[in-house]
């Protein structure tokens, strides 16, 4: 049986990789991919926690972790749709998807 810590370390490593992706890329679509990787790593941790959750008073295991993953996936889908629409609108208007070129609001 694989201990919970293994899953958590794996999730942490993948989360950090996603963070590196967001920081290293200057392309808004690739940054979004990094965000998706981070969400996915969090999903893995949630499902692993659910597997190791103590049973409730009636002996059944609560499914809270998997319910939260369900919500995370739905929200990630909505987020990606809106963010990619913003990227397309940006490309149509400014002809770029590089975040350094979109600095109009920078002080």
């Amino acid at each position: 049986m694989i201990p919970l810590e293994h899953y958590l370390y794996l999730s942490g490593v993948v989360f950090t990789l996603g963070l590196c992706g967001v920081m290293m890329r200057r392309n808004i679509i690739m940054m979004l991919m990094g965000i998706e990787i981070m969400l996915n790593a969090a999903n893995l941790a949630l499902v692993a926690f659910n597997k190791y959750m103590p049973p409730g008073p009636d002996g059944t295991v609560p499914m809270d972790g998997q319910v939260f993953v369900f919500f995370t996936i739905a929200i990630a889908a909505a987020e990606v749709a809106v963010a990619l629409a913003i990227a397309v609108a940006l490309f149509r208007r400014l002809d770029t998807v590089n975040v350094d070129d979109v600095a109009n609001l920078r002080w």
Partner: protein
Amino acid sequence: MAELLFWLMGGGMVFFTMLTIWSRNPVHCTVFMILSFAATAGLFVMLDAYLIAAMEVLVYAGAILMLFLFVIMMIELRDEEQEGLRLNPLMLVAAATFLLLLGRAVGDLGPVVQSQANEMIGSPAPLAEALFTRFVVPFEAVSLLLLGAILGVVVLNQRSRDERASIGPATPDAGGGSAAPGSGAPSVPGAGAGAGVADGSAS
């Protein structure tokens, strides 16, 4: 057996995630990310979350990454290939610190969870029961959120009136790949026509 599978899937997940981050070609990035999500779905199966594994494949690999591929091909990302990545030592320090803190946090997890895994929690019935009883309000809120996202996407990529007039229907001479501003968004003509009909009936 289970350990071997875990190392295989976990190693695959990390490996393909790294390839996603460091690959230059955006299309390759997307394909590697699909593989990484497939490995994650395998880990979910090992954790008895069969419904979540199916959703991962259907929604993430099937829908979300298809959307990524679609947009990447639509707006022809090219500059990334020459530009390369931006590497800053501060970033590596930040990532390493984050990983270290995470490792410490996992190290003294304490008695929050039990050390023994639960047997057989794979059935989707308790998951559905939780979703439709205790979590029914967030569930409905998510449906509203998805509706809002659909409307937001349509509004964001609707062309304004003068844009439509300037592009117009009569641009047959745009044959040589000159991507006119807003040549993407195949749904726009329909949306524009709908808006035009609405305007006509109003005036």
